[in-house]
Every structure is written in C-alpha cells, then in structure tokens.
C-alpha cells in the first residue's frame, strides 16, 4: 500500500524502508509516520518484521533502501547509517536489560553521562518518582520484581529526554495482572513527559490501550496504519480483519451500493461498501455485531459456549451451515443444542 504524509507535522518518518539479512528481506518497502506527541504501535504476529523495523530505527540494523528521519534529521538512508549512540532514541527491551552490576541510580543515570552531577541526581529522583520507585535508589536490579525492573528500564530510557522512545514488547515477560496495570500507566507517563513513542507488540489489547495509531504488520509489510477504532471496525483486508479481534466470514451476494444478500438475510449498511451489485463477496461479522434476543425471528442452534464472566460467547449455527459468534448477556445461560434468537446489529458492512 502507498501512503502520503504531510511531512511538516510528522516527527518520525519512515519512507519505503527495506531491511534484509543477506538476501532475505525481513521488512519490505515500509512507510510510516508518527506525529509530534503521538504514540504509535507496530502490531503483528511473531516473525512479521516488527522488531527488526524497531531495531533499524534505534540504529542496530542498517537499511537496505529507503530512509528513516526524526524531526527532519536523517537517521538512515540507503547505505548511510547514523551510529545508534548519536541518535538520541531511547529503547526499552523485552528482556529488561538492566545492568546487573549497577544500582538502580547508576542504571537510570547511565545515559546522563554528560549532565552535571547535581542535575543527574535530580533527574534520577524525578524519574524514579514518576515510575513509582522513589526510595529504591541504592537497590540492585536482582532485588526488584519483574514489574519494578521494567519500570526502572523505562525510567532509564527516558532519563536523557530522548526525542523518541522505542518499546520492544516491554510487557510480554509480565503476568496478565501486572500488564493490565502497567500498560496504561506507561502510556500516561510518556504523554506526561511528552516523549513520542513507538511500541512493538503482538497483543492487541496493549496496542489499543496505549497507541494513537496502530500499524498492523504481516510478512514484512504494513497492512494498515490507522487508529485503533478503524483497525477494528474498518479493517483494510482479510488479514487485518482476521488478526484483530474475532469474527466470521460469510459468503454473500451484493444487492446494492449499501446492501448484500446473505444466508442470514438482507443486510444493509449506512454507507456505501464499495462493491457493485451482483458481485460475489464475503461479509465479515464480529461477535459484538450479533446480539442475542429471545424473541428474534432469526434463530441459531448453540454448538459451543464459553463463559467469560461479563458475558457469554456462544457459537451458533444459523441458516443450515453457517457458524457465527455471538456475545450474550452474562445472565443468559443457555445449553448447547438449544435454539436461541439472534439479531444482527450492523451499522456498516465489512466486505471482502
């Protein structure tokens, strides 16, 4: 896909970047822009090239072609590659990478070597307070819990006031509870410090919670670069629709600019879907588009169910051989094999 950006408003600008190890290209022709004060996210399955792209921005991997620039300064272009230590790009690593032989203070102050001593002390204190670890100054990394270590790593990366902060799956080593707590917190800290960030993750909840814009990557290419809302509701292609959230593809026939004929009836959208009448297509239906109503005219037989606490997720068989997922209220406990009424609530159609 091609994208054009208004360069003047952009902070990080990646233009047609290609990265290869030997003859094997890991990232193909990727373009991307993160605006001033924004947090972007590279989201994709493992092996999609997201971490490699991040490492190229940090300066650990050279570009084969294309360019990367930050606030108008070229970081890498074709065979030019600015050394990592001169880029002023901070990075938080998946494996934390705290220096085991240094105290928390020494770790956080590691990037402040050119600052006057008194300012170093002040900045370290300020950051440790910010990440909620005031009073841990003289401890060593091994004496901290996983979540605390990751907070120190964040403080360390932010200390030199980088013009961009890269986060390489920083939460993947933490348990679910801690992640829930830390992800929005880190987002808030970045915004408070006004440091633009780029997060790499394979977890869409993390991406949606933290990022203003999300790039869904697959096999070295960006499939879609958009807001979280649009990625979920207006996926650009089958891969994105399938990778993000849950849903089912239903074969259908296009009836008009806004409507299709499907096995579960005539479905209409409030805006044109871009296909012409008579075409064969598939409509993508998410479980939150399928409501359970006891007195609905359309019914489906439950083939499996999962209780998720706040709601049920039923798999229902409709129109003979189509299976759909359906969210139902937490109190609507039905048995497998039961016929239940469902109602489609689509305000737009996702057609492929």
């Amino acid at each position: 896909m091609t994208m054009t950006f208004d360069n003047s408003k952009q902070h990080l600008l990646i233009d047609k970047a290609t990265i290869a190890y030997g003859s094997q290209a890991i990232v193909h022709d990727v373009s991307l822009a993160v605006g001033v004060g924004e947090i972007g996210c590279l989201l994709g399955p493992s092996g999609c090239g997201k971490s490699t792209l991040l490492r190229a921005i940090a300066g650990f991997v050279p570009l084969q072609s294309g360019s990367i620039s930050l606030s108008g300064k070229t970081l890498a272009k074709d065979d030019f590659c600015l050394a990592a230590e001169t880029r002023n790009v901070g990075m938080v690593f998946q494996d934390v990478a705290l220096f085991p032989h240094m105290t928390i203070t020494a770790n956080v102050a590691f990037g402040l070597q050119h600052w006057p001593k008194s300012e170093q002390v002040q900045r370290v204190e300020e950051l440790l307070d910010l990440v909620g670890l005031g009073g841990y100054q003289e401890r060593y990394p091994h004496a901290l819990s996983g979540g605390q270590q990751q907070r120190v790593a964040l403080a360390r990366a932010m200390a030199p006031k980088p013009s961009l902060l890269l986060l390489d799956e920083p939460f993947s080593g933490l348990d679910a509870m801690l992640r829930e707590e830390l992800v929005p917190e880190v987002g808030a800290i970045l915004r408070q410090e006004q440091i633009p960030g780029l997060l790499v993750t394979h977890d869409q909840t993390e991406a949606f919670t933290m990022a203003d814009h999300v790039a869904v990557m697959n096999q070295g290419r960006i499939e879609q670069w958009d807001t979280a809302y649009n990625i979920y509701h207006k996926p650009d292609g089958r891969f994105v629709a399938d990778f993000i959230g849950e849903g089912d593809f239903l074969a259908c026939k296009v009836a008009s600019d806004t409507c299709v004929e499907s096995p579960i009836g005539h479905l209409c959208s409030d805006r044109p879907h871009g296909f012409s009448a008579g075409q064969q297509a598939e409509v993508f239906i998410r479980p939150d588009d399928v409501l359970h109503l006891d007195d609905s005219a359309i019914t489906g037989r439950i083939v499996s169910k999962r209780f998720r606490g706040t709601h049920f997720l039923y798999r229902v068989l409709v129109a003979g051989n189509q299976t759909l997922s359906c969210f139902a209220d937490s109190h609507h406990n039905h048995e497998i094999g039961e016929e239940i009424g469902i109602k489609l609530s689509l305000d737009h159609l996702m057609l492929f």
Partner: protein
C-alpha cells in the same frame, strides 16, 4: 570485508594453528610406515595395548565404585557430615596422580612406615610375609581411581541434584517404594552424566605419564617417551601417539554424546532439602564410612604424609626451591595470560558474528583438553623443529652463525603446547561469563549515547572480571600440575616444581620431593574450592 570479518578471520586462524599438533600426529596415522608398525607390533605394541586397556578397565570400575555411591548419598540422603562431605569429596581432585603415587610408594614400600610397623609388631623379616606391591598395574589403578573419582562424583551429583522431584513422585504414585523409585528412576536418569564423568576420568588415565612410568607399567605414554628419548625415533613416537589419539577420540565422542543426552534429561525443578531421605543409626554410620574412604585415602592420608615429610624430614628449603617456584609460577602465569587472552578474542569473535566456521573451530579447539600432554608435545615438537631447521639452514646459507633452536628449544614451544591443551578451559569460563551479557545490554548502552568502547569499559569489563579471573586461575593451576609435556618441551636446564618432584622421585628421594609436591597440591586446591562454590550457588537453599 576484512574490517567486518577481521575478528572472525583471526579466530579461525588461531584455532587452525592450535589444531596443528593434532593434525601432525593424525598425519602419522595415515602415512604410517609399514615396517615400523610391523616392528612395533611384534615387540611392544601388544604390551602397551593390553596394559592401557587393563588400566582403563580398572580405573573405570574404580571411579564408578567410588564416585557414584558417594554422589548418591550426598545428594539424596541426609546423614551427619553430609554438608561438608559434599565438598570435601572433591579434594582428591587437587592431587595429581603421580604425586599420590610417590606418596603411597613412600608409605607402603619395604622401608616405609607401614611395613616397618608390621615387622616391628610381628617380628617377621624380609621375605617372610606377603605384602601388596604398590608399584604394579594394580597399584596404578588404585592410585588413579583415588584421585580421578571426583569427575564421576561431580557429574553424577549434579545430575542427581537437577533431577526433577516430580519424576520420583510419579514413581511413588505408581506404587514404587521410595528406595526402589530412586534406584530404578534416579540412577538411569543420571546415567548420561555418569558416563560423561567416567569418560573424563578415562581421558586423564590415558594422559597419565608420571604414575605408570614410576610404577614401571608399560603403556602408550611411557612407550612414547621411551621411543622418543631411548631410541630418538620421532616417527615411531608419533605413530604411537597416533594410536593413543585414536583411543582419545573415542572417549571424546563418548563424552560429547553423553553430555548432549545429559542436557536432554535435566529438568528445571530441583530438589528441596525436605526431599532427602533421612538416615540414622547404623545406616548413617555406613553412609559416613562410604564417603570417608575415598576422602581419607585420596586426600587426607597422602596430603598429611607429604606435609609431614616436607616439614620434618626433607632437606631444608633453599634458594633452589625459591628458584623452582619462581620458574613454575612465571611459566604458569604467562601460559594463563596467553590462553585467556586468546580465549577472550575467540569468544568475542563468536559473539560478534556467530557464523558456522567460527562456531566450528571454537568447538574443535575444545578438543585440546582431552589430549594427553605427550601427544601435544610430540605434535608441537615436530613442526617447530622443522621450522627451526629451515631457519638455521637459511642463516648458514647467508654465512651467519646458527641462531639455535629458537622455537622448539625455547619457552615458545612450551607455551604453544600449554595453549593447545588448556585453551578449552579458559574458553569455557570466558564464554560462560560472556553469555550473561545479553546483546540487549549493549543496545541499551548505545541507545543512551555510549560508544562501543565505553560499553566495553563500563559494562563488559566489570561483568566479565570474575569469569576472566577464574579462567586465569584454572589455567595457571593446570599448567603448574602438568608433567609430560613440560618434561619433553622444557628448555635445557629449565626446571619446574612438577619436573623436580618427578626427578627426585625417580632418584628414590621421595621425602625430598615432598616440598614441591605439597606445593602443587596446595595450589591445586584453589580451583577445587572454586568449583565447589560454583556448585553451591546452583544448589537450592
């Protein structure tokens, strides 16, 4: 290209150079001289082969008998003394086989204190009674078993400690008694580790020269020496070395295979103290005795005797001893410096570009440690002497004075041989240290504005310091104990403590050999204690 691959090219070159002695010896296996073989086969080869095989068989049984039960008791059972015994059982590792052989000879021969005491209380005279002849094949087997069993003990114990508790519990849940579950599950699971330890002990057995020479047992190593010095026949010595090499290669393959399987078997969850089987009363006493026997005979008695001789009976130490110690320490330190420096460069070459050729040569250079000193010495001597004679011919061709044997006749040959043999030890320690410095630490440092050189200074040096020091120390001690290669390659009139102890023992001046011997044992204790602390750290609290 060269700039990017410089370190890799360097690593491959160094490793190839270190492989040279082995390749030289191997070449004799291929271009074997038929008539020479025929002659050796008819005269000595049978003897060497049978004695070496009997020695392997005997020491193999001996180290299993001493190593496995002690490892099992100290890791699976709880009895008084278990804690200190678990490290004290490593102590015999500090005593080189030739030194324990000298000590027991002094203790047990006709004029020694044991036989004198027997005669005193029984009134018997010379020839009236039978006494165990220590200077025999059997004696050599006992001596080597006593100091080599810690290899088996160490590996078996580590395997027992790492075995998952749940596998034993599964056995119990299936109706096995605790003892039976331990016997039929724990022991087979530890087998690969035990075999790995056994093959290490057998490699040392094959490498031994001092003990078999002193006891008059004809094996490959003594044969190599005799052929080399007695008949001055380098080619025949090299061919014998090549036959010995074939044995060593088999053992190395066995060891590597077992190690791979040992890793496969190890489990994450380890044993808590509560899982130990408590022993009381006579059972506890028996366990204590089983552990005290190898410790007593392998360390306490010989070290005590040596100390007694050194302090009360040997000639007072003079300048000669100071000179000897100085020579030994300087040589060992120099060798350690060379080996560790190369190890650091090789380890970084692999870390910078983990490409196949570099990984391959690094794996090959580990082979040197398995090689007997005699093989390395002959393999070093042949190419260096060849170069020396080319240099001499060149000088004489120009009408200059002969420079002498500048490579093969100097410390260079010795240092080269030590590096071949001990690089693997240094490399192991350095690599273990470097593994702890994950690449993301480098990246983190650089993303905060530090140059690669600053990262080396601020992150790598402090984190690597202890493993580099360990490497230096281990090579230092190994060189200090080394005997056969030093004997062959030392420059004229250059003596070390090990060589001096050997010479004095050969002159039947066992008591006077004691000061040098006890010094070697004491220094040898350092890596043993290091080994213990590194295991203790791994053990659950």
């Amino acid at each position: 290209m060269l700039k990017r691959h410089g370190l890799s090219v360097f690593a491959v070159t160094v490793a190839a150079l270190l492989m040279l002695p082995v390749l030289v010896i191997l070449s004799y296996l291929i271009k074997a001289d038929g008539a020479l073989w025929q002659h050796m086969f008819e005269t000595v080869l049978n003897d060497y082969l049978i004695n070496s095989l009997l020695l392997l068989l005997g020491v193999g049984s001996g180290v299993l008998l001493l190593g496995v039960p002690t490892a099992w008791l100290t890791s699976m059972c709880d009895f008084p003394g278990r804690r200190w015994l678990s490290w004290a059982l490593l102590l015999p590792l500090a005593v080189p086989a030739y030194i324990i052989a000298y000590t027991y000879t002094g203790l047990l021969d006709f004029a020694g204190p044991v036989q004198t005491w027997i005669r005193d209380i029984t009134g018997l005279g010379y020839g009236d009674y039978w006494f165990f002849e220590i200077r025999s094949l059997g004696g050599a087997i006992v001596m080597m078993s006593l100091v080599l069993y810690p290899y088996v003990y160490l590996m078996a114990r580590a395997a027992f400690l790492e075995q998952s508790v749940s596998s034993i519990e599964v056995g119990c849940s299936l109706g096995y008694s605790r003892w039976r579950a331990l016997w039929s599950l724990a022991l087979p699971m530890a087998r690969p580790a035990i075999v790995a330890g056994l093959s290490l002990a057998l490699m040392e057995t094959l490498a031994d020269y001092g003990t078999v020479q002193y006891f008059g047992v004809s094996t490959f190593t003594t044969g190599i020496f005799r052929t080399f010095y007695g008949y001055g026949d380098t080619a025949a010595a090299a061919q014998l070395a090549a036959s010995l090499l074939a044995f060593v290669i088999l053992l190395v393959m066995l060891e590597r295979y077992s190690r791979r399987r040992a890793r496969y078997h190890s489990a994450a969850e380890s044993r808590a103290r509560a899982d130990l089987i408590p022993l009381t009363g006579s059972k506890a006493f028996l366990a204590l005795m089983i552990c005290l026997v190898p410790l007593g005979f392998g360390f306490v008695i010989p070290a005590g005797q040596l100390l007694w001789w050194a302090v009360f009976e040997a000639e007072p130490l003079g300048w000669e001893f100071v000179n000897l110690a100085w020579n030994s320490f300087c040589l060992a330190f120099l060798a350690a410096l060379v080996a560790v420096t190369l190890a650091i460069l090789l380890a970084y070459a692999q870390r910078a570009r983990p490409i196949k050729p570099v990984r391959g040569v690094l794996a090959m250079s580990g082979f040197g440690y398995a090689l007997p000193g005699t093989i390395i010495a002959i393999g070093v001597l042949i190419p260096l002497a060849w170069i020396d004679h080319r240099i001499i011919a060149l000088f004489e061709g120009w009408g200059w004075d002969s420079p002498g044997l500048i490579l093969s006749g100097s410390l260079i040959a010795l240092l080269f041989a030590y590096t071949v043999r001990f690089l693997a030890v240094a490399l192991g320690s350095v690599q273990a240290g470097l593994e702890k410095i994950k690449p993301s630490l480098d990246y983190a440092g650089r993303s905060m504005g530090h140059s690669p050189l600053a990262i080396l200074r601020k992150i790598h040096v402090p984190l690597m310091r202890s493993s580099v020091l360990t490497a230096v120390l281990i090579v230092f001690v190994d060189v200090l104990k080394e005997l056969p290669a030093t004997l062959i390659l030392r420059p004229f009139n250059f003596n070390t403590m090990a060589v001096r102890a050997y010479e004095l023992a050969s002159d039947e001046r066992l008591v006077d050999a004691a000061p040098a011997s006890i010094m070697i044992v004491l220094v040898g204790l350092i890596p043993v204690l290091l080994l213990h602390t590194s295991i203790a750290r791994r053990r659950p609290q």
